[in-house]
């Protein structure tokens, strides 16, 4: 039988470790912002080329899979909405649910989960490998700030690209759903789009984009923190990569709920 004292001790240790990690993440976040704004004072500005490269990697290169997922989500929502609303004979109002749930919820969340799996893991693996190979130490001894060199471009890229991906997902999902709904209801596609635009308010779009930005910060920080805390060799890299994806997705779902609650009260 488990010793209760041991259980409490384990809970305590993990809580302290978790708080420690949060503090580290906050420190890295503010240091990345500091170097982004003040790097030029130390003759070490954040490199635009490195930032664009990260934007290409995390955003543009993710477009094919993001488009496929967004279209699938749009179609899935259309199918479910027509079925459930059809039970009450209200299928002509499907566009309301589709538009609001896509823009406020599904686009940022699905893009967050996609990028956490695709790019969060890559960030963690890259940093972990660099830490093990002493590349981060090499930067430090050269007088190159590792946060400025490695973290700031990633953070800027994700903060900029996540809302772009969410916006793209909005467009694709609504179009895909519109094609299905208009075909099923013998409605014109133009009328569906008009109804959708009418029901959506600017605040709904900002709500989704705000979430996407927050998820971008979460993915960047979780990837960086896990990558820099690697221990051991290749096995350690694998562990922090998996951990980074799991924590990112968990935090995205929790942050999504908190964000939705706080902005709707």
């Amino acid at each position: 039988m488990a010793n209760p004292a041991k259980i409490f001790e384990t809970i305590g240790r993990r809580t302290v470790a978790g708080l420690d990690e949060m503090g580290y993440a906050a420190a890295i976040f503010f240091e990345a912002i500091y170097w982004t704004l003040a790097g030029w004072r130390y003759r070490q500005p954040v490199r635009v080329t490195a930032t664009f490269a990260a934007m290409m990697q995390f955003g543009v290169a993710a477009l094919p899979i993001a488009t496929l997922l967004a279209a699938t989500i749009g179609l899935m929502l259309a199918i479910q909405s027509l079925y459930s609303l059809g039970l009450f004979g209200a299928e002509h109002y499907a566009y309301i649910g589709i538009a609001l749930s896509v823009v406020r919820e599904f686009s940022p969340m699905i893009m967050g989960i996609l990028i956490a799996g695709r790019s969060g893991s890559a960030i963690a693996a890259k940093l972990a490998t660099m830490s093990i190979n002493q590349e981060v130490d090499a930067l430090q001894v050269m007088g190159i700030n590792p946060v400025r060199f490695l973290v700031s471009p990633v953070l800027i890229a994700l903060v900029l690209m996540m809302p772009c991906l969410a916006m793209w997902a909005n467009l694709v999902s609504i179009l895909a759903a519109g094609l299905y709904v208009s075909a099923e209801l013998n409605q014109s596609f133009g009328a569906y789009l008009n109804d959708t635009i009418e029901v959506l308010k600017t605040g709904d779009v900002w709500h989704g984009l705000g979430k996407a930005t927050l998820f971008g910060i979460i993915i960047a920080l979780v990837g960086v923190i896990n990558g820099s805390m690697v221990q051991g060799g290749a096995e350690g890299v694998g562990k922090v990569t998996t951990r980074s994806v799991v924590i990112s997705i968990t935090l995205i779902v929790v942050a999504d709920m908190i964000f939705a609650y706080m902005t709707t009260q």
Partner: protein, 285 residues
Amino acid sequence: MTNQTLTAEAVNQANRPSAEDIAARRKVIEVDHLDWSFGPRQVLFDINLDVREGEIMVIMGGSGSGKTTLLRHLVGLMPPLPGKIKLLGKDMGALSRMQLLDLKRRIGVAFQFGALFSSMSVSENVKLPLRELTDLEERTMDIMANMKLEVCNLSGFGHLMPSDLSGGMMKRASIARAIVMDPKLIFLDEPSSGLDPVVSSALDDLILKLRDAMDISVVVVSHDVESAYKIADRITILDKGQILISDRVDAVRNSANERVQNLLHRRSEQAEIDPTEYLRRLAGD
């Protein structure tokens, strides 16, 4: 091979600056009363050390002697607390962030396994400090990087990726990166480890060439006794976190200290073991 080494050693010995000459030079490294612990385990005890301009200092010691920890302090990867470390006349503990960055531009470090960036070619690796820390034009950076690659006998290999390099080339590329900013002081961590004797000897020659051609001070952390005899002006031997001896090569070689001789001649120390106590320790009692 032994004859070759002895010859090279003799040549270097003839070129070695005299004790008086070295003592008259400016100190580029001063370590005062440095202690360091990892949790309850103390790994450095009251380290006092100095390195002079143009001098090659080899820091030796067995595994776990604290030499890597000392090196990490010297290059600024660990804080010099408690104690004081001065590099090129600057107290590292008292510098502002800007001053510390400036100081780091004037030193170079080559890590044991190279620490080359695997996503960049050799040439890009060597150019990295120039690209990040200077406003030089691309063409000038290319020229400077090629010069350093040539000094390190890597001319024509700049386009290769680090994964394409042999162990010796990796170390030389790492040294090329360390010297690209024309530092006054370089640190080399285990430059000869994992290399065959011929490549290791060539690397020793490179270190001597760098000192003579660029007039830089070199700190080498190593456990290669032959290499130390060949390149060092002075040798510091660490044991269990303490400096056993820090002196000129001949003085270290002829030291009467048994632990120094054990290390130089690769003899394990005979410890008196009480069997009962040993069993008790294994059982965790």
